[in-house]
Symmetry: C2
Subunit: 345 residues, 2 copies
């Protein structure tokens, strides 16, 4: 037995729980109180979706994600499309241009070749759209019942344009908060594809945002921060950015786009769409003088048609997100404690 130093004293759980992997508070505990005790360093501890790194004279973005979504095929996408979009979006939200992806499959013995081909086809379709190649890969197969069908890891490398710095640290009072369309579509699509609720027709928003981000970055220097609103939904990104920037944010419920059907399902199940995962939505923090041009540029792209300003940064030093509700009250949008739907990515 290897003796482990008592660095784990702040991590109080004897066992790893589902919530340690849902991107919420328990995941934060696992990462900060256990993983960082061993592997912590100034870059990793920034906890950005992409690490921004120096290689000689160049600045690169580097990111990784493993995908375990269940079911692997859902309305509007599948684990293949998801794994490519997720990694592309993480690179792009750091301001970098995605250049190269890696792809690693872990497959269950007996998995149908036909299904693998469908997954590969949908990966190819996204890769062709953004012109980014998979350049290195790995394939492992494990015995039946040792894995649930197929897990996919994609890592990626991008180039950060010289002089560009997109970071929640750059958020300023009066910045407009923009989202590129309706929230909660991905989570609800996966949920309804999983269970036979009788709800149909909810399509995941899973999409590669890279080209749209490139377009919008060309509009000038007014874009201070971008983040895709995946696990934990819109509420989690806003909370994280409010915490990092130490400014209070105000958003308006009536401005936040939610598809009618998605809203109805959330009402019915008691889910809050603000906390439901997206896979093709990002939040942008933009200088007010540039907000309209940014909005116009987003609306010009197929993934940004329904872009809208949903709120702004207030001139108050505080880590809090406040939503003005439709009935006129102010609601504090808490950091979520635990993901409502497991295995949505």
């Amino acid at each position: 037995m290897i003796q482990v130093k008592d660095n784990t004293s702040k991590f109080n759980d004897d066992q790893i729980l589902i919530s340690h992997g849902d991107g919420g508070a328990k995941t934060g505990e696992l990462i900060k109180n256990l993983i960082f005790n061993f592997l912590g360093n100034s870059i990793l501890e920034k906890m950005e979706d992409s690490a921004v790194l120096k290689i000689n004279s160049d600045k690169i973005a580097f990111t990784t994600d493993s995908f375990v979504v269940k079911p692997i095929f859902f309305s509007g996408g599948d684990i293949g499309k998801l794994s490519i979009c997720g990694t592309l979006n993480d690179i792009s939200c750091s301001g970098a241009k995605p250049l190269y992806l890696s792809l690693s499959f872990i497959i269950e013995e007996g998995f149908q070749t036909k299904e693998l081909a469908k997954i590969l086809k949908s990966m190819k379709s996204v890769l062709d759209e953004v012109s980014v190649p998979v350049v290195t890969g790995d394939t492992k197969v494990v015995e039946k019942n040792n894995i649930d069908k197929i897990f996919i890891n994609t890592s990626g490398v991008g180039a950060v344009p010289p002089g560009l710095e997109i970071s929640p640290l750059n958020i300023k009072p009066k910045d407009k908060i923009i989202i590129n369309g309706s929230i909660a579509d991905h989570g609800i699509s996966v949920l309804t594809s999983r269970e036979n609720f009788g709800f149909k027709g909810i399509k995941s928003d899973c999409a590669p945002l890279s080209i749209m981000i490139e377009e919008v970055l060309k509009t000038g220097s007014g874009i201070h921060a971008i983040r895709d609103a995946t696990r934990g939904g819109l509420a989690s990104v806003l909370n994280e950015f409010s915490e990092i920037s130490n400014y209070q944010f105000k958003i308006y419920e009536e401005l936040i786009p939610v598809n009618k059907k998605v809203y109805a399902i959330c009402e019915f199940l008691g889910l809050d769409p603000l906390y439901i995962a997206n896979e093709g939505k990002m939040v942008l923090f933009v200088d007010p003088k540039d907000a309209n041009q940014v909005l116009a540029t987003l609306k010009n792209n197929r993934y940004g048609r329904n872009s809208v300003i949903i709120g702004e940064v207030e001139n108050t030093r505080d880590s809090v997100v406040i939503m003005k509700t439709k009935i006129g009250t102010n609601r504090i949008i808490d950091r979520f404690y635990s993901e409502q739907l497991p295995r949505i990515c």
Copy 2:
């Protein structure tokens, strides 16, 4: 149902089998006849362990590997040490200096925190030794029985020194073939850790070779190609390099180091050590005028003490590896058909 084009006609298996992930002939079929149909491009199709890529003025190496070894703790290492060493070695064998790693966990619900801490500790120990940081990560947890304990993906980025080109395409007649010590230790360690054979004391050779490779590259330009001999063992690397370089190789059985105990277990089980996985062994192809200096440099490093010349490249255009046996006959060392031991990495 998404209709898939009939690009899969050359891939004849309806289901994914264990052998499609063992690094042998069936894995080659899956990659070339199915995956490349969708994702193929000139870089990926080189099938190098690391892709060598351009980012502006810099050349980087980029690699990925998922680790599913069973058991996760074995004599001489664990899945944590393995996942760091494997990716470091893949980067270094391309001639690059490893700079940054990513780390992605997929963990089974209920996994013991104590065991995760042991894994993290052994990762830290290797990372400290080579001074390479983990800069980005991801953690997913899946329900009990949906995965066998823990799978780890590590990807990595390295910088290729300007002007350096290490490639099997550079192999030349009369090159000396060098290995840095005994073969088959890793595979036999995992096997004997898994089953209760009564054989004990076989330690995996799992080790980070990065610093030793840096040292040896400083000796000059005589190093033509390097590859770590992992899945498929020494025989597979030699076959692959003979195929790429289109030169015949000759090796000498009496020169190939095999630990006595490992040899005995292989004899007993009918396993051929030439085809058993290593995780701390690499093969170098070196200009004969530089071979002695390279050997001396290797022997100076703790992971190269038992380095030895095991053969040479012949002046014959042919993709074949011939071993002169201890009894004086010539044996053709075939490309192996299928890994003898599954889940060794």
